[in-house]
């Protein structure tokens, strides 16, 4: 099930003939990160951007990209080519060095995160399983704030500066609840290593005992990556485009890519920490390579995919039904084939992780298609008056539970579930009343 | 032990001296804050190096370094609060011109 060799092993092997065997691990990790960037992140982000635009199109009853490649798959690449062609403009009074550097300060941390994330079961699917993986994660993600602030400052543009200041305040504020929520899984798992946390979720995903923490993490992470409804640093309609208004060409493209890499990252982290990583629901105990599991996955996927596409076809909101409904079956079949092959070659844990991640990514796009943007003071008061206290209570309850065995965390989450149920009921009744009137 | 302990000590000493110079010579309060952070970092290098080389089974130095980091964070927050207050009242933060008691 494990790949016979690890990425780190490959890098070290490649360095050996050069007489650099004892090279410090730091350099090895950097090289690893570079390889991961080229082989994994760039394609993933490319596809993700396409997928996002398609999904947004679906939500907004339009087609999304259609021109470049089949169904516009190559649109992102075309965009990147275009951005490379564009002139790299520097504003006259910009601080040139800082201006040139800032996009990298945003993009590089977004990529460095992937060093510690276990994509699948076994050493082969994680670059370096740091014993302090979770702390590393929070540390690296906190760097991108600097890039945003300096980008805003160096552009010598008032709108950019406002965007930079906004994001400084926003990122610093939401780091707190995010970290508080992230403390939950290691409390239960007893380790800071991400692989260890996933392994600890074999029987129960942490989202069940820590639903509140999951929600806090997800909301705070949305704010951390400046995603709608918290995309104030780059609010088009208020700050033009915020900190990146003066950027053009590939420097703008780096911000753009970093943003999408980040939205993938938070979903991946949520999957690893709360949604059980590569574990299947109720099947955590089973060995993943067994044929039954593989087939069960294939069946589930085919059903899911087919169902989604069937609904899509029934609604026919974004295309004419007759021309496109075959796409549903084709994509379901392709998906099933991928899962089958992956199951055969022992890749299935990666597929499961990625499928969970993409479900979360879909939630992100859903939010993007639905929500307006909050105001900066509302953002702040929500962070400090709602998320931080909730995060503290959640953390205290979990810590108390971990220390004494009294299930305070469970009680808290039970309360939370009741509250969410009540909310849903309320919303549903209101909706029902609404449709009865109109 | 490939790197002698003295290397770390020398590096930390130079870094500390640079920090001292900055704290004494800069006029801007925020620049002085940054110099102080440099000095704290120099101390931390020493502590961690000692922890690694002298007491590798106890790591006392690392614990001290952690406390220093905590205090550095507190110091930065309070220091910037002070700087902002001064700026609000005087519209500048040049320390050699802050002489409220003199007048």
């Amino acid at each position: 099930m494990n790949l016979p060799i690890t990425l780190t092993g490959i890098v070290e092997g490649a360095l050996a003939p050069l007489g650099l065997q004892g090279l410090t691990p730091l350099v090895v990790y950097l090289l690893d990160a570079l390889i991961i960037l080229l082989l994994l992140i760039m394609p993933v982000v490319t596809i993700l951007i396409w997928l996002l635009r398609k999904m947004l199109g679906f939500i907004q009853r339009r087609l999304g990209p259609m021109r470049v490649g089949p169904f516009g798959v190559l649109q992102t690449i075309a965009d990147a080519v275009k951005l490379f062609h564009k002139e790299d403009l520097f504003p006259a009074n910009a601080d040139r060095v800082v201006f040139a550097l800032a996009p990298f300060l945003v993009f590089v941390p977004a990529v460095l995160v992937y060093v510690v994330i276990p994509f699948g079961q076994g050493d082969g699917f994680v670059t370096k399983d740091l014993s302090v993986g979770l702390v590393y994660l929070t540390a690296v993600t906190s760097i991108s704030a600097i890039g945003i602030i300096t980008a805003g400052w160096s552009s010598d543009n008032k709108w950019s500066l406002l965007g930079g200041l906004r994001s400084a305040a926003q990122l610093v504020s939401y780091e707190l609840p995010m970290t508080l929520a992230l403390l939950g899984p290691p409390l239960m798992a007893g380790t800071l290593s991400l692989s260890g946390i996933v392994a600890a979720q074999q029987s129960v995903w942490f989202v069940v005992p820590q639903a509140l923490g999951f929600l806090i993490y997800f909301i705070a992470a949305l704010a951390e990556i400046a995603h709608l409804p918290f995309d104030l640093p780059e609010a088009e309609s208020e700050l033009v485009a915020g900190y990146n208004v003066e950027y053009s060409g590939m420097r703008f493209g780096l911000f753009f890519l970093g943003e999408f890499a980040n939205s993938f990252t938070i979903c991946l982290v949520a999957t690893v920490l709360f949604l059980g990583g590569w574990h299947l629901p109720f099947l955590g105990g089973l060995p993943l390579t067994s044929w039954q599991t593989g087939l069960a996955t294939v069946a589930t996927m085919a059903l899911l995919g087919g169902g989604i596409w069937y609904l899509n076809w029934r609604r026919a909101g974004w295309t004419s039904a007759t021309r496109w409904h075959w796409l549903g079956y084709v994509s379901a079949a392709i998906l099933a084939a991928i899962v089958l092959v992956a199951g055969l070659v022992g890749f299935i844990s990666v597929v499961i992780t990625l499928v969970k991640t993409s479900l979360l990514v879909f939630v992100l796009m859903w939010l993007r298609g639905t929500l307006p943007r909050v105001r900066v003071d509302q953002l702040m008061s929500f962070g400090w008056k709602a998320l931080v206290p909730l995060g503290l209570v959640n953390f205290l309850a979990l810590a108390f539970q971990a220390a004494t065995g009294i299930p305070t965390g469970w009680v808290l989450n039970l309360l939370f579930f009741v509250f969410v149920g009540w909310l849903l009921l309320f919303a549903w009744r209101k909706r029902w009343a609404y449709s009865a009137v109109s | 032990m490939e790197i002698p302990l003295s290397w770390y000590l020398i590096l930390a000493a130079i870094l500390f001296a640079v920090g001292v110079y900055g704290a004494l010579a800069r006029r801007n309060a925020i620049a002085i804050l940054m110099s102080i952070e440099l000095m704290l970092n120099a101390v931390n290098i020493n502590l961690v190096a000692f922890a690694r080389y002298v007491t590798p089974r106890e790591l006392t130095g690392q614990i001290f370094a952690i406390f220093i980091m905590m205090l550095a964070a507190a110091e930065a927050a309070v220091g910037l609060g002070l700087v902002l207050t001064v700026y609000r009242n005087l519209r500048h933060i040049q320390v050699d011109e802050i002489n409220l008691l003199r007048s």
Binding site: L56, I59, Q60, R61, R62, K158, W159, L161, L162, R166, L228, P229, D231, L232, A235, E236, S237, E238, L239, V240, R368, G369, T370, L371, P372, R373, V374, R375, V376, D377, Q378, K430, Y434, S438 | L84, Y87, R88
Partner: protein
């Protein structure tokens, strides 16, 4: 004018404007940390100023301490052009004023010339006028409401609104061949009768399909907590201020003043039609938004009645005799219609020739926009965007 409105002024007669931070003193200390004041220029290329509006904004951190609209980027001298065109020729220019609701501009001009020249419009033409005006009102409010969502960061309502607007534009295209610059309502009537057959079917289909779609789109915004947070209590325009500035349309009715030209100074077929003048008492951005949405529902109600009237009033003459070469006697006239943005009035002076001696266009967007510097202070930049969007100026109309 109906003034049975809620008085929101303080007992001492001083009007309190602006946000919570400004309650005590309009330019006082409204910040937590003293920051440098920024003077920024919003527009004319700013994406949320609805055209070529430029605002000189003074910011204290995020707070707006002063806002001054700068207009004129789209000035074309329309009123002067009118003096060199015959009454009939000038009509096409009016399309270019409020280009989001060109039917109302056509109507305002036509009504004024008819009043000046004493022309009588055939009943069938009056019916056609009401139908296209109400359709155009819906289309215009859809643009306003959709872009309002966009201003606040919600992208989907915009797309949904334009989907429905597209249906209307198709209908209007079938009527007059144009989708934006209609020139359909002519002096003395309309260009031609409404088409029969397929148009009628699609018209009725629209009346059936639009209300649920509007509900869906409205749900996306007005049942969204974030949208409510951004609009409720924001940019409050007290009725006194609204009246004093001469605002009209949804901006005025959002402040609780029930003034609608269709009711207060009736013209055309409107006295026979049953509809409500929509008002909201609160005067905030949400009220103005709600007024627009509710007005669309009222327009559908009017159109339903018109659909019946189409069967009752037989087709026939749609252009008054002698309208083409109209030569009013020396004199003056002022007439106005209710455009989607408010009272759109035309003041005409005739010297007896076939060209206007003087034309003055009372454009609702211009007047409504002037209230911005009064209610824009004391809010945050983001609120300013919300306030501009709720005022909904169209720059062809503001700058003329």
């Amino acid at each position: 004018m109906a003034t049975e409105t809620k008085q929101t002024s303080e007992p001492d007669g001083v009007l309190r404007l602006g946000g919570p931070g400004l309650a005590a003193e309009p330019t006082g200390d409204i910040h937590e940390i003293e920051t440098d004041h920024l003077e920024v220029s919003m527009g004319p290329q700013h994406p949320s100023t609805h055209g070529v509006l430029r605002l000189k904004v003074k910011l204290d951190g995020e707070w707006v301490t002063e806002v001054q609209p700068e207009i004129g980027y789209l000035h074309r001298g329309v009123e002067k052009i009118a003096e060199n065109r015959t009454y009939f020729q000038f009509l096409t220019i009016t399309d270019r004023l409020d280009y989001v609701a060109a039917m109302a501009c056509n109507a305002a001009y036509a009504v004024a010339v008819e009043k000046l020249a004493g022309l009588t419009v055939p009943p069938r033409a009056e019916l056609c006028r009401v139908i296209v005006q109400e359709l155009d009102r819906i289309a215009s409010h859809l643009v306003s409401v959709g872009t309002y969502g966009l201003d606040l960061g919600a992208t989907s309502p915009f797309i949904y609104a334009f989907r429905d607007r597209e249906t209307i534009l198709d209908l209007l295209e079938m009527v007059c061949g144009a989708r934006l610059t209609y020139s359909y309502i002519r002096v003395g009537g309309v260009a031609r009768d409404l088409p029969e057959g397929e148009w009628r079917t699609r018209f009725r289909q629209f009346l059936d399909e639009f209300p649920p779609m509007l509900d869906e789109q409205d749900t996306l915004l007005s049942e969204n907590e974030i949208f409510l947070l951004r609009t409720r209590g924001v940019g409050v325009l007290p009725p006194e201020v609204a009246v004093n500035y001469g605002t009209s349309g949804p901006v005025l009715r959002g402040s609780g003043v029930a003034y609608d030209v269709r009711r207060s100074k009736p013209y055309g077929l409107y006295p026979q039609l049953d509809f409500n003048v929509v008002t909201r008492p609160t005067g905030d951005c949400l009220a103005r938004y709600q007024v627009r949405v509710e007005e669309m529902r009222q327009s559908v109600k009017i159109l339903r009645q018109c659909d019946q009237l189409l069967d009752e009033i037989p087709p026939g003459e749609v252009l008054a005799k002698g309208a083409r070469g109209v030569k009013p006697a020396a004199g003056e006239a002022y007439a106005s219609v209710e455009s989607p943005r408010g009272e759109m009035g035309v003041y005409l002076i005739s010297d007896g020739s076939n060209k206007p001696y003087r034309l003055k266009w009372r454009s609702p967007s211009f007047v409504n926009l002037s209230v911005l510097s009064a209610i824009g202070r004391g809010w945050k930049v983001a609120d300013l965007v919300a306030i501009i969007g709720s005022i909904d100026p169209v720059f062809g109309d503001v700058d003329r």
